[in-house]
């Protein structure tokens, strides 16, 4: 799939334009969409091969809390803290992934084991409240504008960071698609025994995609922490975040490269739209509709919006607006 150069240039211009045109509120939404889109994309790297993890809140929590704690207590720069958080998330991913894949813990069971994992990280953060602030959350020590502390009061810096990360995430997705890994993993998710019989090292391939997914998710969590300058165990870890990741990825379509991002775009605009429409008097209104939409989505289009678009597109090649259906 090659892109027309003009289209590419238009796309780039579209992505760069907010730097000059967008106010702080729109900028805030865009950063959130990009960062969440990045995390959803990372999740889908596993999800599309049939490993539905409910444990990505754990990776995100580690990625967010490790650099923040190191910075607050020891003044360690996030430039060291973030890689450490990512490394710990990868380690955790392997510690859980290896026995799961080895013992063929799949489907429901994989989902429940990873769910337990995200609970473990969430509750550990809450339990260590003397250090982490527990459920009250944690505020990073402010340093003003600082490359060393990776803190920028100007949102545009984070927009660029989020944009680069998001593009990087898509590039990794492409790399997995183009590499041998894609065929291998497709084969594995279709029929594991057959794949093993033709000489595929199933375990290694699964672990590899798990490591990438965990690392990117942790990175997303870390940058989120740097951007918001406030961490709360409920918003970066735990079952709610894990489910949110899964849903957005599914609604957008986890089998297409841009699907998870579409999921992010949709869920965040939906949330904001409902918040504006209903005001803060109706806490929960947004999630009520959100919940109903999720159920409907899974029943009527389990491959998500982009999945649906892809399926409709070849049949009606001239319709340009299929994505809107």
């Amino acid at each position: 799939m090659t892109m027309h150069p003009a289209l590419l240039a238009a796309g780039l211009a579209f992505l760069v334009a907010p730097l000059f045109a967008a106010g702080p509120y729109v900028m805030h939404l865009l950063i959130q969409i990009l960062l969440w889109g990045f995390v959803y994309t990372a999740w889908s790297m596993m999800g599309r091969f049939g490993f539905v993890s409910l444990g990505h809140g754990a990776f995100m929590g580690l990625g967010a809390y490790v650099p923040a704690l190191l910075w607050n207590y020891y003044g360690v720069t996030p430039w060291l803290g973030i890689p450490l958080g990512v490394a710990l998330a990868v380690l955790l991913g392997v510690v859980i992934g290896y026995p799961c894949f080895r013992l063929k813990v799949i489907g429901h069971y994989f989902a429940l084991v990873t769910l337990a994992l995200s609970q473990v990280v969430l509750l550990t953060i809450v339990a260590a409240r003397d250090i982490t602030g527990g459920s009250l959350g944690l505020t990073q020590r402010a340093a003003g504008f600082s490359w060393y502390a990776l803190q920028f009061p100007d949102k545009r810096y984070f927009y660029v960071i989020a944009l680069v990360m998001w593009l990087g995430g898509l590039a990794i997705w492409r790399a997995i698609d183009r590499g041998i890994g894609r065929q291998v993993l497709d084969a594995v998710s279709e029929d594991e025994e057959a794949a093993a019989a033709i000489g595929i090292d199933v375990l290694r391939e699964k672990l590899r995609v798990t490591v990438v997914s965990a690392a990117l998710t942790a990175l997303g969590g870390a940058i989120f922490g740097q951007y918001l300058m406030y961490l709360n165990p409920e918003t970066v870890s735990g079952i709610a975040v894990s489910l949110q990741i899964v849903f957005a990825a599914i609604v957008g379509g986890m089998y297409a490269m841009l699907g998870p991002t579409v999921g992010g775009l949709l869920t965040i605009s939906l949330n904001e739209g409902l918040r504006v429409a209903f005001g803060t008097n109706f806490i929960g209104a947004a999630n009520t509709i959100y919940g109903i939409l999720l159920v409907l989505c899974i029943i009527f289009m389990p491959r998500g919006i982009l999945g649906l678009a892809e399926r409709l597109a070849p049949r009606r090649p001239r319709t340009k607006t299929v994505a809107a259906e």
Partner: protein
């Protein structure tokens, strides 16, 4: 032995009863329909709110409120199956889990919409029993007893009645049951009804002990999935054992450290045991 530790352990046993009841309902649905209702604990939450509404709001007698809650939860179980599970019975099992996850979001936020995030309680203070220096809450003791009776009744129902036998048979072989003259759809609906009813019964027992708030399901929901899986699919006795093992870990862990760490311990125990005994705690 330390008297407080004994007290913690007794409370652990009493909590185990209610957890076992919930895990039983979930196990039934998981075993028969092969679906994980990730929103199961939130159905309990709805039941608790209904009791609160009828008893504290409208002044109904407690028993009547409880009876209505059980019936409503059972009806809700049927609805969940008809509206959410049945349309996607043929698709990947994980989709069914996620669809009920949407239900979880819906129920939690709908409860927030209706009741706000305040903690509500029934305002009933049941007496506390003193045994020497050990204090046992009467509400917990009663919950334990009712949970046990409920479990035994379910056991007898599954063993002694025709539909109970059909339910057990379908859990063993989904494809062949049609040939035996049992209506699969009716059995699924019946199972969902019982599952919902058990959630309603648990709601009655929990409403006496805990304040209800929209997110109460998140605190014990994950626990009952763990118990259900730990016990082994379709293994009711295994589920019972697992409920008490988990509740003891929580009780004793809570005594030596704190509540959150005891949960961390319980979840870690679950993960490790999944790898050591993937087919359940009592499997050989």
């Amino acid at each position: 032995m330390d008297i407080y530790l004994v007290e913690a352990m007794i409370n652990g046993v009493l909590l185990g009863g209610v957890l076992a009841l919930l895990a039983l309902g979930l196990n039934l649905i998981f075993g028969v329909i092969d679906v994980v209702w990730i929103a199961y604990a939130d159905i309990v939450m709805c039941g608790m709110y209904l009791i609160y509404l009828l008893y504290a709001g409208l002044g109904w007698p407690l028993l009547a409120a409880c009876a209505v809650a059980i019936i409503a939860s059972a009806a809700f179980g049927i609805l969940v199956h008809l509206l959410i599970i049945e349309p996607i019975l043929g698709s990947a099992p994980i989709n069914q889990l996620l669809a009920t996850g949407g239900l979880l979001f819906f129920l939690q936020s709908f409860a927030t919409l209706l009741f706000g995030t305040d903690f509500r309680n029934l305002g009933i203070r049941l007496p506390i029993i003193e045994l020497g220096d050990i204090y046992i809450s009467y509400a917990r003791l009663m919950a334990f007893a009712v949970a046990l009776i409920g479990a035994v009744a379910l056991y007898l129902f599954l063993k002694r009645t025709f539909i109970g036998t059909a339910i057990r048979a379908i859990a063993q072989d989904r494809d062949i049951i049609g040939l035996m003259g049992a209506d699969q759809r009716r059995i699924y609906l019946f199972t969902s009804m019982i599952g919902g009813g058990l959630a309603g019964l648990a709601a009655c027992l929990l409403a006496l002990q805990y304040d209800v708030h929209p997110f109460i399901g998140n605190t014990f929901g994950p626990l009952i999935f763990m118990i259900c899986v730990l016990g082994g699919l379709g293994d009711m006795i295994g589920g019972f054992v697992a409920a008490f093992v988990i509740s003891q870990i929580i009780a004793i862990g809570g005594y030596y450290a704190n509540t959150e760490l005891s949960y961390v311990l319980a979840f870690t125990f679950f993960i490790v045991l999944m790898f050591v005994r993937p087919r359940g705690i009592l499997s050989r």
